[in-house]
Amino acid sequence: MAFLDVHDLSVGIGTLQPLDRISFALDKGQILGLVGESGSGKSLTAMGLMGLLPLIGGRVTGGSIRLDGSELTDLAEPAYRALRGRRMALISQNPMTSLDPMVRVGEQVDQVSRMHLGLSGAAARSRSIDLLTQLRIPEAATVHRQYPHQMSGGMKQRVVIAMALAGDPELIIADEPTTALDVTIQAQIIQILVDLVRSRGLALVLITHDMGVVAQACDRVVVLYAGRVAEANVVADIFARPAHPYTRSLIECIPRDGQAPGSLKGIPGIVPSVGNYAAGCRFHPRCALAQAVCQQQVPPLQTQGQGQVACHFSAAPSDG
């Protein structure tokens, strides 16, 4: 049994169904990439895993989430709260707004150790300073006493990571941890996360829209489109032989060295909003291979080698 096992998870908000039967599995020491454009449901998956859907008016409408064998979807709130910050932690998108602007950053990290590990004030403080140092924040003791507005974006994100680690979690969900940061900082943060996974044996769900990040860091990847899984596979295979047309387009979109100017590719059309999903395969309006069957039947998720794919024409070999 995998450490984190998500099976046919569906999420509803109001009368809409933004996530439809998402499945993936993850073991400790592994990094799973969750890829998709904005609107594909990536953040909702993160919220769903953390049990925070009620905060945005959503709820789990089907499927299961198992963490280390125990089912999360029917967990009562106090029990879920005991898990959050302790066994599973969230790193969210925008470090600029993730921290409480009126509290010193050190205190915000301390809070987790005090609450979940029962540490005293002084012990929590030295633990936090340790963590900050491990995350390569210089002069951690000084930084501990600073306010968020006195720090750069990259530093803030490291603090957020420290906050996530303070409770000694086994699962980390990182929702686009580098999107709001400078390109130069992005690589550093990703590397920090990778090192953490390897050194501490954590399980990491890395949510991103950037296939480049996936290539750099992930072991497995799940490609989401419009609330459904389009394709899932180990990273090496998915880049070598992308089976879903959407995946192929995503990979082609990655800018390459030596690319001729003006040849940067995009995917025609835009991601549909939740109420406007197409019938059958939700990608077919933007797909070069679309045929009549694509509109009539939802393509089932079929296993192919080490991965799964949801496309009527996925048997076609990739063309580079």
Binding site: M50, L52, L55, R81, A82, L83, R84, G85, R86, A89, L90, S92, Q93, N94, T97, S98, L99, D100, P101, M102, V103, Q111, V112, M115, H116, Y147, H149, V160, M163, G167
Partner: protein, 308 residues
């Protein structure tokens, strides 16, 4: 912080000068000779001459203003026409009553307002929330002096729990404070609730949930602190309403105080008293606003660094 305080005080200076100029001009804008408006009916030419010398009434307006201002700040506010006392004495008699009323009303509004607003936000959409919203509605639309009169009717006339008017006992403070306070509670409560709901939608609150804190703890220990900032802002902007409310309610309850003094002297056309009261009340508003700004700066580390 000290630098901020000094800068704010400096900003206050031109405001004070402008307001004092307006108050000063009242006597000169009223129809009739300024001397007639400062002197008792039937005063002798010698008494008039003394006044002219004292206030420099034969000098250009700007000089008169200077003399007046210097006198005022030195404690010489002129003599009341009707009550035949130095104005400063009248003000000294009445000021403590107003301070007591205003201070208590402010404390009452702030404490009760923040409490109800916070409860309404934490238990949003429950019966607590709905009751608080009704209270807010009533407090903001009912004219305060009517409310005061109703309270007098019910609690003083019918039930005889409190005195109808005056300031002889401390119980006489209850109804007036309640009257001014209810309006204030409505304001503070509304802002607190709205601010807490607004802050509750921010990203860092999501992270607090992700860390495993409970909803109530997040609201009361984290969100409330943020919400207090807009509350302090609103309070410091509207500190004037306490002064305005006190003026009205003192009159309604026939309590001694700057407000009653102002209204009666207006009706009697006792201009020196009017000027003295207006100046004091205006200063109260300015000081209140300043205090409000200082409290905000103390609460939010970001404001201290703005220095604007």
């Amino acid at each position: 912080m000290l630098v901020y305080l000094i800068r704010r005080l400096l900003l206050l200076l031109p405001v004070f000068l402008a307001v004092s100029m307006v108050v000063f001009m009242i006597i000169h804008l009223v129809p009739g000779d300024p001397i007639d408006n400062m002197v008792q009916i039937g005063a002798s030419p010698q008494q008039r001459a003394i006044l002219v010398a004292r206030y420099g009434l034969d000098q250009p307006l700007l000089v008169q203003y200077g003399v007046w201002l210097r006198n005022m700040l030195g404690g010489d506010m002129g003599d009341a026409i009707v009550m035949r006392q130095p104005v400063i004495d009248l003000i000294a008699e009445n000021l403590p009553h107003s301070l007591r009323l205003g201070g208590l009303a402010f404390l009452f509004s702030t404490i009760v307002g923040i409490t109800t607003g916070a409860l309404a936000a934490v238990y949003k959409d429950s019966w607590i929330d709905r009751s608080v919203m009704t209270l807010i509605l009533l407090g903001s639309t009912l004219p305060s002096f009517w409310l005061g009169l109703l309270l007098i009717l019910l609690f003083a006339v019918q039930l005889e729990w409190f005195p109808v008017s005056g300031a002889r006992t401390w119980t006489a403070l209850v109804l007036p404070v309640l009257t001014i306070g209810l309006h204030g509670v409505a304001l503070v409560s509304r802002v607190t609730r709205a601010a807490m709901l607004d802050v509750g939608r921010r990203d860092f609150v999501l992270m607090l949930h992700a860390k495993g804190l409970s909803h109530r703890r997040i609201q009361l220990q984290h969100v409330l602190r943020h919400a207090l900032l807009p509350v302090a802002t609103i309070l410091s902007l509207r500190i004037g309403w306490i002064v305005g409310g006190a003026v009205t309610i003192e009159f309604v309850f026939a309590r001694p105080g700057l407000g009653s003094l102002l209204i009666t002297s207006l009706a009697q056309r006792d201009y020196p008293v009017v000027q003295g009261c207006l100046l004091m009340l205006a200063m109260a508003v300015m000081l209140g606003t300043l205090l409000g700004d200082l409290v905000q700066a103390a609460m939010d580390p970001r404001i201290r660094e703005q220095l604007r």
